[in-house]
């Protein structure tokens, strides 16, 4: 049967199980928007292409299914660069379809032409430029396969306009069902090597001060249950990186929470002093290691990852296990049970009491609110945490509010925390929350955002209102680029340079209302809880709460950039000589 590129594009997206795409039409992609009318796929019309990209990411984080964005050529494609880079660094499965100028016009500097595949090469796992309409079914098939297997990531498919134009003869071809993949250079290996599993188990039995250092790979591999089984079997504490918040329940007795630059003292120090890092789906990011040469100096390293390029990239591993981290943990559990029949490990009670000692001495704390001050952002987050369902999905932007959210929320379920970890994309929260709500409409979705971030992407609240995604946005409005302000206070001698945004402009309440949302302003601590309860009751439109927070509030603990984790600065009230 004859088909054409545009029809085939929709049909093959449907065949991939796509129910929802986030996009915005324009010249080169126009022919794809016509068959979209007949398609079963729901299209969410965004207000800026970057929003479509982050929505696709939020959707993917919340559901585990690849997010899909559909946009036109030129500026739409360049607006997609940030979400692609974001998805690349955080290994988010995502497929982005971009229109391109007609085949014959490529290279002529045509209207809205840019070298999309050239520009996005470094920010995608792979990209395709379709050169023949007949390739479309196979390329879509391959794109989803690449995006979702191995280490997940974004894949871009760039399609010239003539190849999807039903009225153009070059778009016509004999329809077919793609079968298999002709990708001779892509063979993701998921099965761990049995010898390496044995070697890892041995190291665990020899260790006196082990720690499980778990990263975002746990969530990508859907291995939260296996991680819990392993931790309980071994009775070893677990730190969860920013990308794995929720991958191990914070309310579990073995949970130590987040390590790194703004991690808690115990998580940072337990890693630092351990003699064995059982690294599962984590990649020794500089925000976790601090100064690499001084990171966990006495620790041997087991490193399990789907991506072998992570081994020995930052920290050399004593045992590296390539494979799906869920499969790796399952095999490790078997090996440990077997080995446990004959072997025993050194006494770990001193290590355990050391950990609980740190936990007691250095909990996450903040000063009490004083009259005349802005709200304590930590208090706002605690109130949100305590007055929302346990499985609430939380999206955040990037900055102080993100770190406070990670610190003070209690993530007890996987896939409840959605943030931009690697790229650190300000403005991520609003569109990511909308994408999460689109994927999980029955769940409550809150964004915890900063005022700087909110101003970058809040226009998508119009999308949320019109498409009926009633997300709730808590803007921790301190009138500053807070994290930058903190660095200038601590490292630039309080010489504040271009960080003051001003809390009153825009008027967040009016801005929210102008976009069809409910806007609430909260200025005093006693209003916090009632405002949250009011927001929770509203399900027919988004809600924005402008929480006026204290601008001088700093986030602690803090490991200054480039310093060793042993030099962690705790909250001033806890003293800094340990």
């Amino acid at each position: 049967m004859q088909t054409n590129g545009g029809k085939a594009l929709m049909k093959n997206l449907e065949a991939q199980g796509v129910e929802l795409v986030f996009g915005l039409p324009g010249g080169a992609i126009l022919p794809a928007y016509d068959p979209l009318i007949e398609s079963s796929i729901r299209h969410v019309l965004v207000r800026h292409e970057q929003g479509a990209g982050h929505m696709a990411e939020g959707y993917a984080h919340a559901t585990g299914r690849p997010g899909v964005a559909l946009v036109t050529s030129g500026p739409a494609a360049t607006n997609m660069v940030t979400p692609l880079a974001d998805a690349m660094l955080d290994s988010v499965p995502m497929v982005c379809i971009t229109g391109q100028v007609a085949s014959g016009a490529i290279g002529s500097d045509a209207f809205q032409e840019c070298d999309t595949t050239g520009i996005t090469m470094a920010v995608t796992k792979h990209n395709f430029l379709v050169t023949d309409a007949e390739q479309i079914p196979q390329v879509i098939h391959d794109a989803f396969y690449i995006a979702t297997t191995g280490r997940p990531g974004p894949v871009l498919v760039d399609i010239p306009k003539d190849l999807i134009d039903a009225n153009n003869p070059v778009s016509q071809f004999e329809d077919y069902e793609p079968s298999g993949h002709d990708l001779p250079g892509y063979k993701p290996e998921t099965e761990p090597n049995p010898q390496e599993i044995q070697d890892a188990a041995k190291l665990i039995f020899q260790s006196e001060r082990p720690i499980i250092y778990s990263g975002g790979g746990i969530l990508k591999a859907r291995a939260a249950e296996q991680l819990k089984d392993l931790a309980e079997l071994l009775d070893i504490h677990v730190v969860t990186t920013l990308m794995n918040r929720g991958g191990f329940p914070d309310n579990h007795p073995l949970a130590l929470g987040m390590p790194g630059m703004h991690g808690n003292y115990t998580a940072i120090t337990a890693i630092q002093q351990s003699d064995l890092l059982i690294t599962l789906g984590a990649r020794f990011d500089d925000r976790v290691t601090g100064k690499v040469d001084a990171f966990a100096p006495d620790a041997k390293v087991i490193h399990a990852d789907i991506d072998p390029a992570e081994f020995n990239k930052v920290r050399s591993a004593d045992v590296s296990i390539q494979g799906d981290v869920g499969r790796t943990i399952t095999e490790l559990i078997k090996a440990i049970k077997q080995m446990g029949e004959t072997e025993s490990h050194p006494d770990r009670s001193a290590w355990k009491s050391q950990i609980s000692g740190w936990n007691e001495k250095f909990p996450l704390v903040y000063d009490d609110w004083q009259a005349g001050e802005g709200l304590k952002p930590q208090h706002v987050i605690e109130q949100l945490r305590d007055n929302t369902p346990d499985d609430t999905i939380v999206a955040s932007g990037v900055g102080q509010h993100q770190m406070w959210a990670s610190q003070f929320w209690s993530f007890n379920h996987p896939y409840t925390w959605i943030n931009s970890g690697g790229l650190g994309t300000m403005g991520y929260a609003v569109p990511a929350a909308i994408g999460a709500k689109a994927g999980k409409p029955d769940r409550m979705v809150w964004a915890i955002d900063g005022d700087g971030c909110f101003q970058m992407t809040n226009q998508e609240l119009v999308t949320a209102r019109l498409e009926n995604f009633p997300v709730k946005i808590a803007v921790l409005n301190n009138g500053y680029l807070g994290m930058v302000r903190q660095w200038q206070e601590l490292f630039y001698d309080k010489r504040y340079s271009e960080v003051h945004l001003q809390s009153d402009l825009p008027d967040y309440k009016m801005l929210a209302e102008s976009m069809g949302c409910v806007g609430i302003r909260v200025e005093s601590p006693e209003e916090v809880k009632p405002a949250i309860e009011q927001a929770n009751e509203i399900n027919d439109r988004p809600v924005v709460i402008d929480f006026r927070t204290e601008s001088s509030e700093n986030i602690y603990p803090m490991v200054p950039a480039g310093k060793s984790n042993s030099e962690v600065i705790v909250h001033p009230s806890q003293g800094n000589e340990k």
Binding site: T117, A122, L129, T131, G185, Y186, P308, A309, F311, N312
Partner: protein, 163 residues
């Protein structure tokens, strides 16, 4: 890992548009230095073969290989050690030969078993293919004359046959 500074990687890639850009872009982005690079189709027109000489001082070879392997169009990477491989390079050069040194340069060309491709008024175009070391030596000799233009191809290499 070897402590040799330059490593020869033979990279089999899919013969598709943009593949060379992906490979060179990866090197640029990750700060890996390329000493030389040669690329051409193979007997199977689905694949091309890229021979890259990598400066391992810029990055550990393990990282270079593993990052290259992540490119979807890269099918296979082989590291050729100097002991177990044959490498060749081609040089073309145009040289000005001052009066009275014609015989001398012809003797030197002969001793290197190089070829004379074109001869003009006090000018000569020569070529030589050989190991990179021999090509280096030949270029040093040519430098004692006046080199007008010179082009080297970069190394291509194959494994030696082991019996």
């Amino acid at each position: 890992m070897s402590s040799v500074r330059f490593h020869t990687l033979v990279v089999r890639v899919e013969n598709k548009p943009g593949v060379l850009a992906r490979v060179s872009g990866l090197f640029a982005r990750r700060g890996f230095n390329i000493e030389s690079l040669a690329v051409a189709p193979t007997d199977n027109d689905l694949f091309s073969r890229i021979t890259i000489v990598v400066d391992a001082e810029s990055a550990p070879l393990e990282q270079v290989v593993k990052q290259l392997n992540k490119l979807i169009n890269v099918v296979e990477i082989q590291e050729l050690s100097p002991e177990d491989s044959i490498s060749r390079e081609l040089i073309l050069a145009t040289v000005n030969v001052e009066e009275g040194r014609e015989d001398q340069i012809m003797r030197e060309i002969e001793s290197f078993e190089a070829n004379v491709l074109s001869v003009g008024d006090q000018k000569i175009v020569v070529s030589l293919s050989g190991t990179p070391e021999i090509v280096n030596d030949f270029e040093v000799v040519l430098e004692t004359y006046e080199i007008v233009e010179v082009q080297r191809t970069g190394i291509i290499a194959l494994s030696t046959i082991t019996s």
